[in-house]
């Protein structure tokens, strides 16, 4: 296991402003997801939604070290990654509403978010199926000598898919500029990790494919960022792929807007323990301790975000739905 000890690098030094911005981004994702959850029952968003509440530090910590031309590839649970990478909020909300102004013109729904300008290459609803796309993006970067990197987001469940192993082998063998970013939220739908995988350190996955790995507290945005700095630097140097494992937790149900603790598939108290380690409130506490964050700033953030969200929903609802006769268009390029 290649658990390099963390050593701060030059690039890892953050200004207070940058730190606060990480907080703002997490808060923004949380608020957006919460608004989706709140409005979901209105049945205007008629597509499955997999919310990322609780996992914001992973998305923001991973994406904050990437540039726009770096490509990420996401999963069914893509809202956080898309937003953290700079994807357009309006295009996302419109997509969830099935509007022509959606990032997929309404054709994809919540699980197909992408934003070419922001470097969100694609989101894919088939577990693990997104990972080789990132390998391809890394291959293209290498072939075209762009010096960009590609990041594959995937969950602990995806580790069970053969294609993820195939992807790791391909990236390692070809020394591709890429990061495998695993969010271990311990569940695949309702099934806990220990019913799906043997007990062993998850980073052993990387050893099997000859790449370095680092496992971090995925609810600590700074730890995630730190690990990503190393992984991305390595990729950009041309030294090949690596794995980052972010240990985290999903607060809401697998699919849909609700809290599902009552279903009983989570051990009693587990959700509460993780909620106590909420990536946003704990980072807020830390920043307050540093004296960098105070009520006024938070309030200002909340106000701006609320306005932005309101606008995005209003725009989406005001936008036209795709005309039925366009359904047949664009099967071939």
């Amino acid at each position: 296991m290649t658990q390099t000890t963390m050593r701060p690098t030059l690039t890892s030094v953050l200004t207070p402003h940058a730190r606060i911005d990480l907080f703002r981004q997490m808060l923004r994702i949380r608020r957006i997801e919460e608004e989706i959850a709140r409005r979901y029952a209105e049945q205007q968003m008629r597509c499955p939604v997999h919310l990322s509440v609780g996992q914001e530090a992973a998305a923001v910590g991973a994406c904050c070290v990437l540039r726009a031309t770096d490509q990420i590839v996401s999963t069914h649970r893509c809202h956080g990654h898309y937003l953290a990478k700079g994807g357009s909020l309006n295009a996302m909300i419109a997509e969830l509403h099935g509007r022509v102004t959606g990032c997929c013109s309404g054709r994809g729904g919540s699980m197909h978010l992408f934003d070419a300008a922001a470097g969100v290459l694609a989101s894919v609803p088939i577990v693990g199926g997104n990972v080789p796309l990132a390998v391809g993006a890394a291959l293209a970067a290498k072939q075209r000598r762009t010096n960009d990197v590609a990041v594959a987001f995937f969950g602990d469940g995806a580790l069970e898919e053969g294609v993820v192993h195939e992807s790791a082998n391909l990236a390692a063998t070809h020394g591709l500029p890429m990061v495998f970013f695993l969010e271990n939220n311990r569940y695949s739908v309702y099934t806990p990790l220990d019913q799906r995988q043997p007990a062993r350190p998850i980073v052993a996955f990387a050893d099997a494919h000859g790449m370095p790995a680092r496992s971090v507290d995925g609810n600590d945005v700074l730890s995630v960022r730190e690990a990503m700095i190393h992984a991305v630097a390595r990729a950009r140097r041309g030294d090949g792929p690596s794995l980052v494992v972010a240990e985290t937790y999903r607060f809401l149900e697998h699919c849909g807007p609700a809290d599902d603790d009552a279903l009983g598939y989570r051990p009693a108290g587990e959700l509460a323990r993780w909620q106590a380690r909420c990536p946003i409130t704990s980072f807020e506490a830390y920043l307050r301790e540093l004296g960098e964050l105070e009520d006024a700033i938070i309030e200002a953030f909340k106000t701006t975000i609320a306005a932005e969200i309101k606008l995005a929903f209003a725009d989406a609802l005001a936008a036209p739905v795709p005309a039925p006769e366009t359904a047949q268009e664009g099967v071939y390029a």
Partner: protein, 366 residues
Amino acid sequence: MPELARALEPRIISAAEAIREATVAAMERDERVFVMGEGATDPKGIFGTTSGLRERFGAHRVLEMPIAENGWTGMAIGAALCGQRPILIHQRVEFSLLAMEQLVNNAAKIHYVSGGRHRAPLVIRLIVGRGWGQGPAHSQSLEALFAHVPGLKVVMPSSAADAKGLLLAAVADDSPVVFIEHRWMHYASGHVDPEPRAVALDGPKRVREGDRATVVATSYMTLEALQAAEALAAAGCAVDLFDLRVLRPLDVGAITASVRKTGRLITVDTGHATYGIGAEVCARVTSAAFEDLRAAPVRIGLPEHPTPSARSLAEGYYPRSPQIAVAVGRAAGVSATVLEEVCAGLARERDAMPLDIPHPSFKGPF
């Protein structure tokens, strides 16, 4: 209620419940039968079809699976070769695409290639069809891919009773059976025999009789076609409606006989029309009953593009009873004015139901 009356009383349950009943009966009857799938043991129990099984039969007979479709399909085949009788479940047909290699190269062929020595008695339950804005990779009806492969049997029930009976037959069959459930078919309710009686995998079933045209439908589309057929019958145009049920091995004998009588054939299936189920039915029946066909067969299926998520696009995507009635009515020579009325009635019925949900109990999004 006295016992006898209860026994005669129709016992109305949904197809999803019927599938669960069949599974319980098969597992009770034969300890080699076991169930495996992603979500097989979870609180939702695969649309309720596996709920409570683990509690009843134990963890060694109801196996929760990792997300490794190809792996556990191969595992099921291996277990079947060793005498077990697995029932595999994929919550979406798209996931089973990962297992195509095992299904096509191993399951379908191992009996044949071994000169009949190997047996791979497995049932692969696949769920196809429409949902709530699921988008293109969670909503396909890819039965044609399986139906093309010799060595697989492919079955699609359309009613609760058949769901139970055909599944029992599938589990008892010594060949691999791909058992395809349309998501909306799960909500079809009807009388279901409490006894575990298999319904033979021997071909289509006539669900309505008439002589003006022959309509052949699959799975959920049988229900839409039935609405159309009933409305047409009320307008004086009774048709033969067949539920195809067994896509492979395909037996079109009864359909051919019907076409000889009606001279018209309309197919209505749940997948894409091109290279789809209807193509084979049309080609085969045309060959067998060419002299009696009085008009070109008509196929109704999905248009040639992926499923869009947006509701406004999904609207026209799925053929519903009015379109079927128009196609059938035209073929049967129903006058335009009558047809217009029939369609208007069906459209009213259809519009009373939400477009993207199958049943008032369906709360989305899963």
